[in-house]
Amino acid sequence: MGTATSYPRFVNRLSRCAARSPRVYYSWLGAVLAVLVLASSPSRALAQIELSWTPSMIKGPASAPVTIVEFSDYQ
């Protein structure tokens, strides 16, 4: 009966992975989920949308350093 080192390399690698704490895999899973959430977050969409503005619905000078766009419902 041979030792672990006599098995093919991928078998040894798998057994090393199996020996790791499950916490290692949870942290990887967390990182992947974080990337997915960031990729689908509104801030990413914001950068991709060009808003049209109606002059009569604007208050304040075009040169203002801060622009507040308000999406609102009258009701």
């Binding site: 109606t54 009569s56 304040g60 040169s63 203002a64 801060v66 507040i68 999406f71 009701q75």
Partner: protein, 132 residues
């Protein structure tokens, strides 16, 4: 608040009538009719003060109170002259994932829901500092 910041802040209003508010869309279209007659902000303030009384007759009454030509205004409302413009705003909001109101974008940064004046000042001050 715009006066407080004296030319350093610009406000852009976008229509986002929610589907569950059955009278809202007509009110948003009517506000644009008022805007075409040069009274957008006065009508806007009147609508917020009168909500949710947005039947056709209400909308015409508010216009008349502001000195707008009632017949011309009624024609604009009945023709739904600005329906496409309101729809465009809704589509842009949806594309941004904006599904609740009010939602503000302060230099592109979203602020969702009613926010205290203090919080608003703080966000605006931060945005001004970033622009320096």
């Amino acid at each position: 608040m715009l006066e407080e910041y004296d030319g350093r802040v610009r406000l852009v209003f976008k229509d986002r009538p929610l589907a569950m508010h059955t009278l809202a869309r007509a009110a948003h279209e009517a506000a644009r009719c008022a805007g075409a007659a040069g009274k957008y902000w006065a009508y806007h303030d009147r609508l917020f003060a009168a909500q949710p009384a947005f039947r056709r007759s209400d909308l015409l009454t508010y216009a008349a109170e502001l000195g707008l030509d009632r017949d011309a205004f009624a024609k604009c409302v009945d023709e739904r002259r600005f329906a496409a413009d309101v729809e465009r705003d809704i589509e842009q909001a949806q594309a941004l994932g904006i599904n609740s109101t009010p939602t503000f974008l302060i230099n592109g940064r979203p602020v969702i829901g009613a926010t205290s004046i203090e919080e608003f000042r703080s966000i605006i001050d931060r945005a001004l500092q970033e622009r320096r």
